[in-house]
Amino acid sequence: MDNRIAAVSMRNIKKVFGTVQANDGVNLDIYRGEILSLLGENGSGKTTLMNMLSGIYYPDEGQIYIDGNPVTISSPYEAFTYGIGMIHQHFKLVDVFTAAENIVLGLKEPGGLDLAKASEKIRQICDNYGFDVDPNQKVYNMSVSQKQTVEIVKVLYRGADILILDEPTAVLTPQEVDKLFAVLRNMREDGKAIVIITHKLHEVEELSDRVAVLRKGRFIGDMITKETNAQEMTNMMVGHEVKLNIERPEPQNVKPRIRVDGLRVRSRDGILKLDDVSFTAYAGEILGVAGISGCGQKELLESIAGLKRVRSGTITYINDDGTEEDITGRNPVDIAAKGVALSFVPEDRLGMGLVANMDITDNMMLRSFRKGRSVFTDQKTPKELAQKVVDELDVKTSGLSTPVSRLSGGNVQKILVGREISSSPTVLLSAYVVRGLDINSSYTIYDLINQQKKNGVAVIYVGEDLDVLLELCDRILVLCGGKVSGIVDGPTADKRQIGMMMTRLGGETSDEQ
């Protein structure tokens, strides 16, 4: 292993987008028979770097070598001729085609459309590495994990021996992650070079042989995974010392605040998204909501916030003095008029929570612009609020009149959360609040949420990172296919158990499937 030649060497790679230096003089080596983690925060340039390797972008400067030869890769097709294949975060599959059809799609070799032969070859690949793919299954019938498998097989089918996976575990349950890691290890044994892009440290530790860290577009260093630890990697990623544990203050003054009873919600196409959901959220605690994506989390929050039509069931708000308000099926203005201070940080920040092309001040008045009898909007109060949020949450912006779409993800979220908590809510609904945020911003948000909890707010926190849910929440409600699979106690819950509950109601069968 000493004098091995790098399968890929990237030397002094630079890439600029507008005024953003996405990659600045990056050097990276990728070896066969090894799994490399490319670690970095959001916006550190990991994906950009790999996109240049897979021919989607072209570097402004620098040189790529494959097996020691200088090469130019100017399209994904050319990347394939060098054996480079990338599995993107967003799958690129045709829904109405079968797995086999998707796999041969776009192949230029003669006989490429012989599906029987293709299926045979697909089975062979699957047997080799332990994949589980039915070549004749249509993509729209597949789970997220199956779609990902098809993407990987597609790349292998084309003869790739350098595989890049962009955040492959983001959408998988813990059990699916185990399966994925197992096949990746098999591929490593087969001598393939594997790169996974990630920002989750425990994955780096569990899977990879070597880890390379990027920060703000620069290459910080690479290490043998066994010789480093989470704290050191974090420090390299962030650039300074950060503490890695999330606070969980003991809930104070807990009392019922929102009671959901037998809630049933259908999507616009009539599909049942929530089925007989009942639970109570308490003031002064954080109720986590876990589940595979699309299992009704969005519908749950939107029906409480008054944005979804409720088919049956009730949503009741309980005042401090024990009196109750029925807020089922009310729109947000009516709910506010009943004196219920409900805040909602939706998943789609720029498409729902904020108006992307409006400036910070105008976004501040989204909730409050109706106040007062005047036909004109009050411009002064929102401006003061904007200034306050920018100062208190340390938002990086060139001014209050900057459109929010020009801010970075973390700053956008600070604006949104800042506005939502500025109205001193009694209920705070939040969906994927730290998605796409860097570590510092994430911790700022956790602190804000904990602060709300201490103020006696009932927080409902929909999350995707189970580790965070386990550390932050007092109780965790697990959804499975629109039903409540169970509610577990945060401090004592077990990750695997929650994973089981996510895939199967109740999660009681603990055997291997």
Binding site: F17, G18, T19, Y58, D60, E61, Q63, I66, N69, P70, V71, T72, S74, E78, T81, Y82, G83, G159, A305, G306, L307, N331, P332, V333, D334, A336, F344, P346, D348, G351, M352, G353, L354, V355, A356, N357, M358, D362, M365, L366, R367, F369, R370, S374, V375, F376, T377, Q379, R406
Partner: protein, 373 residues
Amino acid sequence: MSSNNKTAIKNKEPFFHITKRKHMEWYQSWTVRILAIILALVICAVITSITTGLDPVSVYGTMFKGAFGTQRKIWILGKEVAILLCVSLALTPAFRMKFWNLGGEGQVLIGALVTATCMIYLKSLPQPLLIVVMLVTSVAAGAVWAGIPAFFKAKWDTNETLFTLMMNYVAIQLVAYFVIVWEVPKGSGNVGIINQNEMQGWLPVIGDYKYLLNILIIAGVTIAMHIYLKYSKHGYEISVVGESYSTARYVGIRVGRIILRTLLLSGAVCGLAGFLMVAGTDHTITTTLAGGRGFLGVMVAWLAHFSPGGMILSSFLLGFLERGASEISAMYQLNQSFGDILTGIILFFIIGSEFFIHYKLSFRKKAGKEGEE
């Protein structure tokens, strides 16, 4: 994956690529626009001298004279610009909401038709009352004409572009029908000047300036529209709905209601434009009264990025080009199309310059030499 395959593909580096600009200072963007106009004038000059053999400088002079040559021409230009601006202003609230109202033509015509109806059948009313009735009914008619597609959009999410476009043809046919009912003399296909002798329902003239009242009214509409869009709660709701329906619902804005309300306003101002044309200046009605302003107004509004202030400039530019082009055709006895060609080239450059304001072309740097040894 043989190694000669690997060396075969080399240095096919793209020659340039396009990136989005972050921001451009106002003086930079205006420099780009002015450069575009200069370039357009140069190209027009070349085409003029090649195709007609005329001296481009004198052609431009004629164009200028056509628009500003005499006091009368300046007034006509003012009248044309004002009415075009009025239609564009009418479309703006809808466009800000991303409701593509292409029915300006029909909404103007229907306002005009109702105005003419009042002038013909209600001429016995006292003059001030008649004018008030004309104003109210024509504005209402324009509002209804835009309200119908808005209602369908709000209720069943129909395609507003097609719907408003089709409403134009209905309006044109209605006008065509009434022109035949009212034609004087019979068989002429013309309504002629309505109430020529008594001038019932004609808007008053300020001093000797028969177009001044229209211009003043439209100036007022411009200011009102600017304030409405920028400072009112309605204007804020329009912007939110235009950006995202789900954001609007998220804060409890009833999207359907805003669509309907905004289109009623949009149609009402179109109806006002029709009223001003019939009662204020033309005193007659034809199927071509709107004269494509419903569509030209779309361009005026887009060019100004839907800002009423900018629309004063862009409607002036389009009005000037149109007057100038027709003067060229008349003076040199050229086909009308020649003027249109010049106008087209100039507009192409002005609109094209927006691309360079928002995007940047980066050319290949001299760095890709590694593969040559």
